[in-house]
């Protein structure tokens, strides 16, 4: 089973306007930079982006925002840390002007919404967010004396993930903390596209140490090691 594509452009060719797309990464670690840049070049619009954060060192997502490609953002840590930086930040300004819709979730809830989408579970209950604005409009239930909120699964049409190594059948291995959201987004994607720094043949990865089994990955494209000359913010 060969899932490889020869270029990121071909790997994203069928993404339509209005797609819901998840992007792996936690701050600067594990960003699918090549796929995201190709999406900016492709110019599809009215996208719903599912990404932990935009405000800290996520220039590739920012480019989608500045191109006017984003209709809605579902995220956890949308803004730059400082209000001063936020004043110059195109995503924060777009949110202020309501040019982009947004949903913000606690980090564990955000992760679990994706996990549930990948695991065939339509909803779950979590204590995170009880008694806060996150709880507004959500069902509250008490289990063993603990108040919890009902949260629903977050299925995505396409998931972009970045892996250190991958084989032609879509088995993926991540490096250090670049794993973060990549595995759970791969699970949540109806079509998961993996950019891998190094593509190998089936059997070359140690089968005891596969992080994402190939069944969750539809397409694989080798993009090399990203340019890390820029420091985190």
């Amino acid at each position: 089973m060969d899932k490889t594509y020869t270029s990121v452009e071909l790997a994203i060719e069928d993404i339509p306007d209005g797609a819901v797309i998840a992007f792996g990464s936690f701050f600067t670690a594990g960003k699918p930079t090549a796929l995201t840049r190709a999406l900016a070049k492709k110019g599809v619009k009215n996208l719903t982006i599912v990404v932990m954060q935009v405000g800290v060192g996520n220039e590739e997502i920012l480019e989608l925002v500045e191109n006017g490609q984003v209709k809605k953002a579902i995220c956890n840590y949308p803004f730059p840390r400082s209000a001063t930086r936020g004043a110059d930040h195109s995503f924060e300004q777009a949110m202020r002007q309501s040019a982009i819709e947004a949903e913000v979730y606690p980090m564990g809830t955000f992760a679990e919404k994706l996990r549930c989408a990948g695991a065939g579970i339509p909803a779950f209950y979590t204590p995170a967010g009880v008694g806060t604005v996150v709880a507004e409009g959500k069902e509250v239930r008490v289990f063993d004396g603990v108040e919890t909120l009902m949260e629903t699964a977050l299925p995505v049409d396409f998931a972009f993930v970045h892996a250190w190594k991958g084989d032609r059948e879509g088995n993926l291995v991540y490096r250090y903390t670049a794993r973060n959201y990549n595995n759970v987004m791969a699970m949540a994607g109806k079509v998961t596209i993996a950019e891998v720094e190094t593509l190998v043949e089936p059997g070359e990865l140690d089968s005891n140490f596969i992080h994402t089994p190939g069944i969750f990955v539809k397409r694989v494209v080798e993009t090399g090691r990203p340019d890390y000359s820029q420091s985190p913010v």
């Binding site: 701050f27 670690a29 956890n76 803004f79 936020g86 973060n180």
Partner: protein
Amino acid sequence: MSKAMKVIVPEMPPLEREMIALRIANMLEDGSYVNLGIGIPTLVSNWIEGRDIILQAEIGMLKSGPLAEGDEIEPDRINASCQFIHELPGSSYFDIETSFAMIRGGRMDVAVLGALQVSARGDLAGWNTPARGLGKMGNIGGSMDLAVGARKLIVAMEHITTDGRPKILPECTYPLTAKGCVDVIVTNYALIEVTPKGLVLKEAIPGVSAEDIQKMTAAPLIIAGDFHEMEL
């Protein structure tokens, strides 16, 4: 006392942020798993080198190490504050859903978080500053999960705002992170425990009295029977 009212600050200079972190480091027990939030909490890591304390970074790492610089930087290894870090013998990496299973699942012995406000009942407000004008949007990060999941929650913060207003209030006026979650507040002037009876003032920095602390605190304080000078 209205929250808008500026408070009277004692003449004694307050603790530096590093010293708030040191006081908290001294509260941590060996053998504990600890998560440190952004800001003053991160500084706690400077005081636990060589101790049997394992730090969890919610990005997906256990036993996160000291900050890395220069040639030692590994771009794929950052902590939850987006800083380059070292790994240590016994470090492990995992995905985000496993990380939050640890946090919500009650495996974190202690979380240390910053705060904008804490209420008399231990409500925490720490993710949304209304003055920034973003309504119900803001950087929640891992704070809501940590606040409900950690076995003990220590808040590390300045006692008053930069414009001289109290941050420890009868009720939080900013959007909440979680209700009734805070166990201990360590500030640049005092150490206060949240108890079912109310806020108990346990320690104040040298040269500052319990009355001085109350003047900077909008919520009522109970003076502990063993109230004493903070030792560092």
